[in-house]
């Protein structure tokens, strides 16, 4: 569904590339986490899929099509096939829940009767039945994110990109959101989620692609947020096999990393 072939993205000639010769394939119906520190290239990855930016070299394929070959007037059609969810929800504050979701259908010219039928259905999928007429500020953060997800999937895109969708939410609410995303994934939508949230990644046990300084340092199926042995260039089957054994030690690594970070913070103070 999404394939990166040797993709490099350079924003500034003097600095290191944001993405450096990335090769990655995400299949139809897959659920993949994109993890890594800020500046590791997660957002650049998502922007390239949306053709918000042009790759400096290499080819990005979305749904079998090289996005570099999509003319500018056909970019909207590419984007109709991709739903996007953000950390800050990006709802329209003066529109109701229903109108926010309907907006995504109105602007691509869907008829009123189709909108009337589809929107309540989608709101039901994300668990917002009966809240159609609320305004965004009357909802909790988790509910607002559900509205944003409903808006992203209302046009039935094949791909859902989520850029830290749980970044503003507490752990319990986050798990609720993950349930919604999982349900959407079960319905056949490919989901790519960039995140910092280790609990969620560990809980979900989905494919994890870890980026560091624009390079993929790990690509594991059914994996955890951090791995004991960061390996590059190893075949996925091998890593799958070793995945189970890694888990306990991974937890230790994480707590160690936190202790280190705390120490560093105190040092700065």
């Amino acid at each position: 569904m999404i394939r990166f072939e040797n993709v490099t993205k350079v924003y500034d000639q003097k600095a290191r590339p944001a993405l450096d010769s990335i090769n990655l394939e995400i299949d139809r119906g897959e659920f993949a986490f994109l993890v890594g520190a800020s500046g590791s290239g997660k957002s650049t990855f998502l922007r390239l899929v949306l053709k918000e930016d042009r790759a400096s070299s290499g080819a990005v394929y979305v749904a079998g099509q090289n996005v570099a070959n999509i003319s500018s007037w056909r970019v909207p059609r590419l984007r109709r096939g991709i739903g996007v969810v953000f950390q800050d929800f990006r709802l329209l504050p003066q529109k109701t829940v229903f109108a926010n979701v309907a907006f995504a259908m109105q602007v691509i010219g869907k008829s009123r009767s189709v909108i009337r039928d589809t929107v309540p259905e989608v709101l039901k999928t994300v668990g917002l039945e009966g809240k159609e007429n609320r305004l965004p500020h009357e909802l909790s953060g988790g509910e607002q994110q559900r509205v944003a997800i409903a808006r992203a999937v209302v046009n039935r895109p094949g791909i859902l990109l989520a850029d830290e969708p749980t970044g503003n939410l507490d752990p319990t609410t986050s798990m609720g959101i993950m349930g919604v995303l999982d349900k959407i994934n079960q319905n056949g939508t490919t989901v790519v989620m960039a995140t910092h949230d280790d609990d969620i990644v560990n809980e979900m046990r989905k494919r994890v692609v870890e980026l560091r300084n624009g390079v993929i340092i790990r690509d594991e199926a059914k994996a955890l947020y951090t791995s004991m042995i960061p390996v590059v260039g190893q075949s996925r089957r091998l890593r799958d096999a070793s995945g189970r054994e890694e888990s306990p030690s991974a937890v230790t690594t994480r707590s160690e990393a936190r202790a280190e970070a705390r120490a560093a913070g105190e040092g700065q103070l």
Binding site: R90, L92, F103, V107, I108, R151
Partner: protein, 304 residues
Amino acid sequence: MRLQFVLAEIGSGLRRNLSMVVSVILVTFVSLTFVGAAGMLQLQINQMKGYWYDKVQVAIFLCSDGSTAAGCASGPATPEQQDNLARLLESPAVAQYVNDFQFESKDDAYKHFKEQFSNSPIVDSVTPDQLPASFRINMKDPEKYQIISETFSSQAGVETVIDQRQLLERLFSVMNAASLVAVSVAGVMIVCAILLIATTIRLSAFSRRRETGIMRLVGASKMVIQLPFILEGVIAAVIGAALASGTLWAVAHFFLGGYLSKQYPDTAFISAGQTLILAPALIGLGVLLAGVSSLLTLRRYLRV
């Protein structure tokens, strides 16, 4: 559905940006009024030129009932005198200076008079008898007017020979200068209008960047995203153009028709209805400048 959506977007945009929209309306109104004033002066010049101005240079007026000129002591010109004059015009001595000439009978004169003064009350009090018949001459070289004048002034039955162009050209040069001034002022105001429209569209695009960002993400076409902004500018400009057209009409109706034509009954003025032919041009110009400036602004300030 899409149309309804675009209309709703325009409505909310206009409401949100009301003060800017009002200023766009006023600036286009003033600038297009100046453009229209220049157009009106040209219309007025055409009106004053009348039927003969562009066709002939010299007119030989024959004696009529009321003539007081020395050559007309014997009363109105007779058909024989008229034939003599026509023969003289065709004689080699004169014909070398003349391209061609036409005879305007009293009835023709009345017809042309009625056309030219159709907007003036004077037309009702004039009869064909009061108007002189004339020969209208198209010169090979307009500078040779003196030769014709000397040859014909002394002929029997000729009241007067006049070079019509000379009479009107001074007035026209003043009016042309006035339209040039109006066009220059209009030019400055149009630049002003374009910049103001650009600023307005920019503000509008900025205040709605959240909406347009979402529209982009869900795959709205470039047209659906941009059209509300462009139409916003165009609607404001059209309102301005309509106001300008209305002002020109009011000037023609109340000032020219109601005041000047009574002060100067022997001058042909344009009618209020004639100014309305300027309205489509003004509205077209308004649409063009609003459309182009908002399109250029959006290309810079609205990512699609």
